[in-house]
């Protein structure tokens, strides 16, 4: 087992950890915006870590190049989708969660 495979294992375990935290946030947070905050950033980072791990395991081939392309695309597309969804929620009147005595 060479050093690239070892690094790939480390990156993939990190990716699974961040997927788990994003899922816990999606299940446990109190309203829509906080859930989107957890899953938007956590999922982006987890997908990027997994794709870096796959690239290190695969090496410099045409498949590795496609994996890099998917990583760049996800890095651009996932924040865009999260932003569009949260803006639609705010304009449709989803009320943000506040603490008990807080009015504004």
């Amino acid at each position: 087992m060479n050093i690239g495979t070892l690094l790939a294992i480390v990156f993939m375990v990190g990716g699974l950890f961040f997927f788990t935290t994003a899922t816990i946030g999606l299940l446990r947070f109190p309203d829509f915006f906080t859930r989107l905050h957890a899953t938007g950033k956590g999922d982006t980072l987890a997908v990027l870590l997994f794709l870096i791990g796959f690239f290190l395991y695969e090496g410099f081939t045409i498949t590795g190049l496609k994996i890099v392309f998917i990583a760049v695309f996800m890095f651009l597309a996932q924040p865009t989708a999260t932003h569009a969804l949260s803006r639609a929620g705010l304009r449709c009147g989803v009320i943000p969660w506040m603490k008990k005595g807080d009015t504004k």
């Binding site: 299940l27 392309f69 865009t80």
Partner: protein, 89 residues
């Protein structure tokens, strides 16, 4: 290394089952769309792991790429439609 990929795939499948709770019971349509986007991300990684398990990555990488594009376009289309529709929450 095959055992490692299998364990990763099983962990991701269990996470998809947990996110499916938010899709089924989530209050309002926005929670459901957000959870579906999260399931799409996990499915993209599961497809690549299936490719590595079956030693056919050069075929599964194209499917995964198309799945990433469709997930993005689906989320954008759903959010634009809900924004156009007005307050249905």
């Amino acid at each position: 290394m095959d055992i490692f990929f299998l364990v990763m795939g099983m962990g991701l499948c269990i996470l998809v089952l947990f996110v499916l709770y938010r899709v089924v019971y989530g209050p309002g349509v926005f929670n459901r769309v957000a959870a579906l986007s999260a399931i799409g991300n996990k499915t993209l990684i599961i497809l690549l792991i299936m490719g590595f398990v079956y030693h056919r990555v050069e075929m599964f990488i194209d499917i995964s790429m198309v799945y990433a594009l469709l997930n993005f376009i689906g989320t954008i289309a759903a959010s634009k439609y809900l924004e156009m529709e007005g307050s249905i929450v």
